[in-house]
């Protein structure tokens, strides 16, 4: 066989050499099946290798100089903070129903320090589910007409002006506080913030103003901070129709602060500002904790997977670990910690690394299996929260205004004696002081270090250059498969035509048919477009459904399902009917449809990876195998071999898994057990998501469905 080929080769007129890059392309396309299998496996493997490849963090910006100055927070300040904690936890202060008393106490304490104090009243504004507002910047929000006096929150804001500074920049310290039902933890966080604040009124090194925001968290921490930020960044000067909070009698009580006649000009009921915000810290103390160590948790994910600059996390981590002796952790997916397959995978990696190290002592990429498991759990949660796009704390509100912010949650080992409380106040306070001092040292805003990264532990990260490799490997087969499918579809029809007609007859008519055939993909593009349109409609529907008043989550979900089926039928009958008959005539059309779908998915994933990597990665994990395996069910059934049967099963399973409700239930079931899953939950979940997140899933799922059933 090979000899005949050789002969034919030698007989043939030798073709001119094709350029190597073209040759490579042709080679890859012709071997698309093997290439795609290899690439996908490599992509998944690379994803699991990421914890191994993680680098140690380092402080990139030299000006930060964390911990170079010895902390100035002394026991004097700690006792000041303790005094505030005592006053706040005092039952007398809670007598008032609206919790105004404790706000007054806080304001009085701030005034005594010589800070400028103001109250900010806000009406809680729920984060509305609006799919069209995804790319628009945060605006000043809609004014709702029916505000009542009973529902408002009060943020207490204290500002220290830097004595030598020019007031162009400010650092924000946020402590959420619910005056109505405050736990001891919240009071303690206020105590820490107050002790730092009282120190900062005395220091001379301050170059940026300090804003201490006591956010009223009775309507949620995020809402309070977001309301304050909205007022800070995009204030409304005209208040025509809204009933002002000033009209409410309770609020007016607020301004009758006693004893501020001395430094009276420091208090004002108008909104006070400092300069451009350089960074923000949200401080929380957890109420109860069963761990044996004082730990501090860092939450960094903001909306849409945005992360603060890595330097900010580095500074906190460095100061907490090396100066204050606190244990730092970032969020993990706890369920992954105990999984045995991950452990064994980690052991495999470890042993591989051992072998490599014995071969060449400088290859030190291995990490212990336990560390690997932890790193993977952290990475998974990092990916999950970034993909979800819902901020993990009030710091998310700052990121919407390009301010780097993180939430620090201190969970102390629990005991009630005074020594312990002083210790927490001192260490927490010194940590905050150190971070503020570092940020204060900054001449420029955070820009040196990474913005695109995934954390695998507080001191290890995977940078964008590394994790993109896994993603690129995963989506690399898509264009190849698309090209090969297209070529196949074209050539197969060409062959069938060539058989029927004699070679001599192929003249200019063939040219014409080639021209027609080369435009045939437009048909399938039309089909794909219609399905995408339907996906978009389905994803927009929840917004309109949410406008329906008095709807329980379950019923609205049902309405959603019904409406989407209805819209599918309508679209099918109106737009896709000519296409359906065309499909009936051409059985082989599916290959073209698949190729168009795959290329559109490739473009979509590529774009998404720029916007939000984590979403793109998870999406690719689900969609790439689905796209590659998709095959009409009829064909599979007709073929009847074992291979096609397997493929069919895979298709069906994947198609169901990737359908968002199914995926949600599976995840929820894995995490919580299947018992408490509810259809309404899914509605809530969707409501908390941005619209496009589900849209991407929907359209591809439906494309597969059409294949399967058509």
């Amino acid at each position: 066989m090979a000899e005949t080929k050789e002969k034919s080769l030698s007989d043939e007129k030798p073709k001119p050499r094709v350029r190597p890059i073209v040759r490579l392309g042709i080679f890859l396309i012709s071997h698309s099946f093997h290439v795609s299998v290899v690439c996908c496996t490599a992509g998944v493997l690379a994803l699991f290798l990421l914890p191994v490849l993680a680098k140690n963090t380092y402080i990139s910006e030299n000006a930060l100089m964390p911990g170079s100055a010895s902390p100035m927070l002394s026991n004097q300040h700690v006792s000041d903070g303790n005094r505030l904690v005592k006053d706040l936890t005092n039952p007398n202060s809670k007598s008032s129903e609206t919790g105004i008393e404790s706000h007054k106490i806080i304001a009085q304490y701030m005034l005594d320090l010589g800070a400028e104090v103001s109250f900010h009243k806000f009406h809680p504004q729920m984060n509305q589910f609006h799919p069209l507002h995804f790319f628009s910047s945060p605006d000043s929000g809609k004014i709702q007409e029916n505000y009542s006096c009973s529902s408002y929150g009060i943020n207490t804001v204290g500002i220290i002006r830097a004595p030598h500074g020019d007031g162009k920049e400010a650092i924000v310290l946020v402590t959420p506080y619910n005056a109505l039902k405050s736990g001891f933890g919240e009071a303690l966080s206020l105590g820490i913030a107050y002790s730092v604040f009282s120190l900062l009124t005395q220091v001379t090194w301050l170059a940026k103003d300090i804003i201490w925001l006591v956010a009223d968290s009775q309507y949620g921490e995020y809402a309070a901070v977001a309301a304050w930020l909205r007022e800070y960044q995009t204030p409304k000067f005209s208040s025509l129709s809204t009933p002002n909070a000033e009209m409410c009698p309770d609020v007016n009580n607020l301004f009758e602060l006693k004893g501020h006649s001395i430094s009276g000009s420091k208090f004002s009921n108008s909104f006070r500002r400092a300069g451009t915000m350089a960074s923000a810290l949200v401080l929380k103390v957890r109420d109860q904790n069963e761990q044996f160590e004082d730990t501090i948790s860092i939450y960094a994910e903001a909306s849409n997977g945005q992360m603060p600059n890595l330097d900010l996390i580095n500074v906190v981590n460095y100061l907490a670990v090396h100066r204050q002796g606190l244990r730092v952790n970032v969020e993990k997916l706890w369920s992954l910690l105990n999984s045995s397959w991950l452990k064994s995978l980690g052991e495999i990696f470890e042993s591989l690394a051992k072998v490599a190290k014995s071969l060449y002592p400088k290859w030190k990429f291995g990490i212990p299996a336990t560390e690997y498991v932890e790193g993977t759990a952290t990475l998974a949660s990092s990916l999950y929260y970034q993909a979800l796009g819902v901020p993990t704390g009030p710091h998310g509100a700052f990121r919407d205004y390009q301010v780097d912010a993180i939430t620090l949650e201190i969970s102390p080992k629990f005991s009630l004696d005074k020594v312990w409380r002083n210790d927490i106040l001192l260490r927490g306070g010194r940590l905050i002081e150190g971070v503020i001092r570092s940020v204060n040292n900054l001449l420029e805003k955070f820009h040196q270090s990474f913005f695109l990264y995934l954390l695998t532990s507080p001191s290890k990260f995977v940078s964008v250059g590394v994790y993109m490799i896994a993603f690129a490997l995963l989506i690399a087969p898509l264009p190849m498969v698309a090209a090969s499918l297209y070529v196949d579809a074209n050539s197969s029809s060409n062959c069938s035509k060539g058989d029927s007609s004699t070679p001599s007859a192929i003249t200019d008519t063939d040219e014409h048919s080639i021209a027609i055939r080369s435009w045939r993909w437009l048909n399938s593009a039309k089909l794909v477009f219609i399905v995408h349109l339907w996906g978009a409609i389905v994803s927009l529907l929840p917004y309109f459904i949410s406008q329906i008043p008095d709807c329980s989550p379950t019923t609205s979900f049902m309405i959603w399902v019904l409406l989407s089926i209805l819209s599918l039928l309508t679209l099918n009958s109106v737009l896709a009917s000519p296409l359906a008959c065309a499909k009936a005539t051409q059985e082989k059309e599916w290959a073209l449809v698949k190729s168009v779908t795959i290329s559109s998915v490739f473009i979509g994933l590529g774009l998404m990876s720029v916007i939000n990597f984590a979403t793109a990665e998870i999406g690719a994990l689900l969609m790439v195998p689905m796209c590659l395996l998709a095959q009409p069910l009829k064909l599979d059934v007709r073929a009847g071999t074992l291979r096609s049967f397997c493929r069919m099963i895979c298709n069906l399973v994947l198609g169901h898994i990737a359908f968002p409700p199914a995926a949600f239930f599976l995840l929820k079931g894995m995490l919580d057990g299947f018992g408490n899953a509810n259809v309404g939950d899914f509605w809530m979940w969707v409501e908390s998501l941005w619209a496009w997140n589900s849209a991407t899933y929907l359209f591809i799922v439906e494309v597969t469905y059409i294949f399967s059933h058509g």
Partner: protein, 660 residues
């Protein structure tokens, strides 16, 4: 030799003595005829409501007209007079400021704050007495000269994109004004030392002895100014020479450790201070060249009212105690709109000497609280919006209840209006849309034409000139809040136009808010000795109340500054690929190649390639197409090579593994 020298020295001594006597006599003679070079040093201390102390140094030297004694000066600094002569400066003011003036607690209505509260950084304005088309050239030269003179980067004001020409809103209103600011200029001792060099006694004697650098720069506000007025122009008849006013305003925190120690009821007592405790130094006599050399202690209206001081009982004040007896006490001339009066205690430094240095202290006995007189409207400015594309500047004016008395006094003639002038300069990369100007009065949007009486706008030109906006607002007197917003686009800069710390952001200089209806002046009861004090006569001048807003920091999009490197590498790669393929095409001869290929195909009979091709053909099954033959044939050679490499590497790995 020694004997011989002595008479010479004696003679020299006698000669100088005589010369000195002559000079003094000459001076006294000259005083009757023409103005003589004069120098005065004054220090004004003023307690501030928030436990701080304001110290205002005022040095004034006046140079005689240049025609009278050529280019020689006895007292007046030569550098300044040369500057004035060369650039024909009519009036000039240069200020170096660090820190912010706190208008809310330090006041803004009195002449002291109105003329000494300056924006952070450097501010320079000058009025020239040259034809219009020469002004810009003079300004450029002036900035360079001042930059050398004061060790500051004032020369950055040279480019036309940094300075502006206010038309009418700027107080010394005339067409020849140039105005420029450098908000991010850092001010330190290096700027103070040349400033001190202009004083005849430097800081070696007199009041300037108090200028102890560490304590000065520890303060909360530090503003060092140089104000030049000259009428020395040949075109006009009157020639009164040059007046150079050097002022230094500092706000300091007296050491209040004692106050903290005392128990809570006395926590609000003002800290006691003395000159030596603030500055760490005492005044040991006056600078011999200074004519009036005096120290004042000013208790402003609010404070004297809080003390219960009136024109009757100000001699016996119960609330505080002075460590030195004042030489004179001045009372402010009572005006219609306020009952309380400022009180000025004067101390003459002449009486003190080295052995008995001058030191004044103030001991508070009871806690006193008062408020300084504030500007009619408190102005603050901030940025609105987020993102890298657009934003808005907002100037919000808030009524300070304090001046309602004035307003009602002014509103006697029916329609009461409050005039506010706003002068705002924006750099060119902040592209302001002037049509987006919006005015809100008392939280109601108002038509621009209703509120704005007069507006002058000169739009910015890219890299050429900044945008200038001058607005006259007519607000109703009872206004509570007013706000002006104007939107802008954030411009893109070329990579070499970014400042060194580009990621910090870019500054928008302070806006000037002035109230032309209100005049800050403090007229003290007429006294002939008063006319001699330049400081007090300056207080009596009627100057409009002015306040500066905050400096704003606009974050602009900054490129990754390693970008040029990336661009260079990418461009080089693209060029290399391009030229490589072009050369390839140019050199290729098709016929030659075909013959070569044929020869090669005929020659190819190796055993291993044959085997491998068999193998691969089996592996790939029937899907063998003629199109793929060239790549497959090349891949055979590759795979052979690869196989060899893998074999060798595997051997090496195995060897390493088993023998280590």
């Amino acid at each position: 030799m020694v004997l011989l020298q002595r008479p010479h020295i004696l003679l020299l001594l006698i000669g100088t003595h005589q010369f000195l006597q002559c000079w003094i006599a000459f001076g006294s003679v000259n005083e009757e005829g023409q103005k003589q070079a004069e120098f005065s040093e004054e220090l004004l201390l003023k307690p501030l409501p928030d436990h701080k102390l304001l110290a205002h140094f005022h040095f004034q030297s006046s140079g005689p007209p240049s025609t009278s004694n050529g280019c020689h000066h006895h007292l007046f600094p030569k550098a300044i007079s040369q500057l004035v002569q060369k650039f024909r400066i009519k009036e000039m003011e240069l200020s170096f400021t660090k820190g912010r003036w706190n208008y809310e607690s330090w006041g803004g209505f009195d002449p002291l704050s109105s003329s000494n509260a300056k924006p952070p950084g450097v501010e320079l304005w000058a009025v020239f007495d040259v034809p219009q088309h020469h002004i810009d050239a003079s300004w450029k030269n002036l900035t360079h000269t001042l930059s050398g003179l004061f060790c500051a980067s004032i020369n950055f004001l040279e480019s036309t994109a940094t300075y502006s020409t206010p038309e009418w809103s700027f107080p010394p209103a005339s067409g020849n004004v140039r105005y420029g600011t450098l908000p991010c200029e850092a001010v330190c001792t290096e700027n103070l030392t040349p400033w001190l060099k202009l004083l005849p006694c430097r800081d070696k004697a007199g009041i300037a002895l108090l200028l102890d650098r560490p304590s000065l720069y520890r303060g909360f506000y530090h503003s060092q100014q140089l104000h030049l007025t000259s009428t020395g122009s040949s075109s006009e008849g009157i020639d009164s020479g040059i007046i150079l006013e050097q002022t230094l305003t500092v706000v300091l925190q007296p050491n209040s450790e004692m106050a903290i120690e005392v128990h809570a009821s006395e926590k609000h007592i003002q800290p006691s201070w003395s000159l030596s405790s603030i500055f760490g130094k005492q005044v040991s006599g006056r600078c011999v060249l200074a004519k009036p050399s005096s120290v004042y202690l000013l208790l402003d209206r609010g404070l004297s009212a809080a003390n219960g001081l009136t024109s009757e009982n100000f001699w016996s004040n119960p609330s505080f105690e002075l460590s030195a007896n004042p030489d004179r006490i001045f009372l402010e001339e009572s005006s219609s709109h306020s009952k309380s009066l400022s009180i000025l205690y004067m101390f003459q430094v002449e009486k003190y000497c080295e052995s008995e240095p001058f030191d004044i202290g103030l001991m508070w006995k009871v806690p006193v609280a008062w408020l300084c007189q504030q500007t009619p409207l408190h102005a603050s400015r901030f940025l609105m919006g987020s993102g890298n594309e657009r934003a808005a500047i907002a100037i919000s004016l808030k009524s300070t209840q304090f001046t309602e008395g004035f307003m009602s006094a002014n509103s006697k003639d029916g329609s009461c209006e409050l005039r506010v002038d706003v002068f705002q300069v924006v750099p060119w990369y902040v592209k302001v849309y002037f049509h987006s100007l919006r005015v809100f009065v008392d939280q109601q949007p108002r038509a621009v034409s209703d509120i704005i009486e007069k507006i002058h706008v000169s739009p910015s030109k890219d890299k050429m000139s900044p945008g200038v906006m001058e607005v006259v607002l007519k607000l109703p007197c009872r206004v509570n809040t007013a706000a002006l917003t104007i939107e802008f686009d954030k411009g893109f800069l070329r990579i070499d136009e970014y400042l060194p710390d580009a990621n910090q952001g870019f500054d928008i200089p302070s806006a000037i808010i002035s109230f032309p209806n209100f005049h800050a002046s403090m007229v003290f009861l007429e006294d002939d000795s008063l006319n001699k004090s330049p400081l007090l006569s300056k207080f009596q001048e009627k100057c409009p109340v002015m306040s500066y807003t905050e400096v704003l920091l606009v974050p602009l999009t900054t490129p990754d500054f390693s970008m040029p490197y990336n661009v260079i590498t990418i461009t080089c790669t693209v060029f290399a690929l391009y030229f490589g393929s072009v050369l390839n095409v140019l050199q290729r001869s098709v016929a030659e190649e075909e013959r070569f290929l044929k020869a090669k195909a005929a020659k190819k009979t190796g055993r291993l390639p044959l085997l491998l091709s068999k193998l691969s053909a089996k592996l790939r099954g029937r899907r063998l197409e003629p199109l793929h033959s060239p790549p497959s044939s090349s891949s055979f050679i590759n795979s052979k090579l690869v196989l060899k490499v893998i074999l060798v590497a595997g051997l090496a790995v195995g060897w390493q593994y088993f023998f280590s």
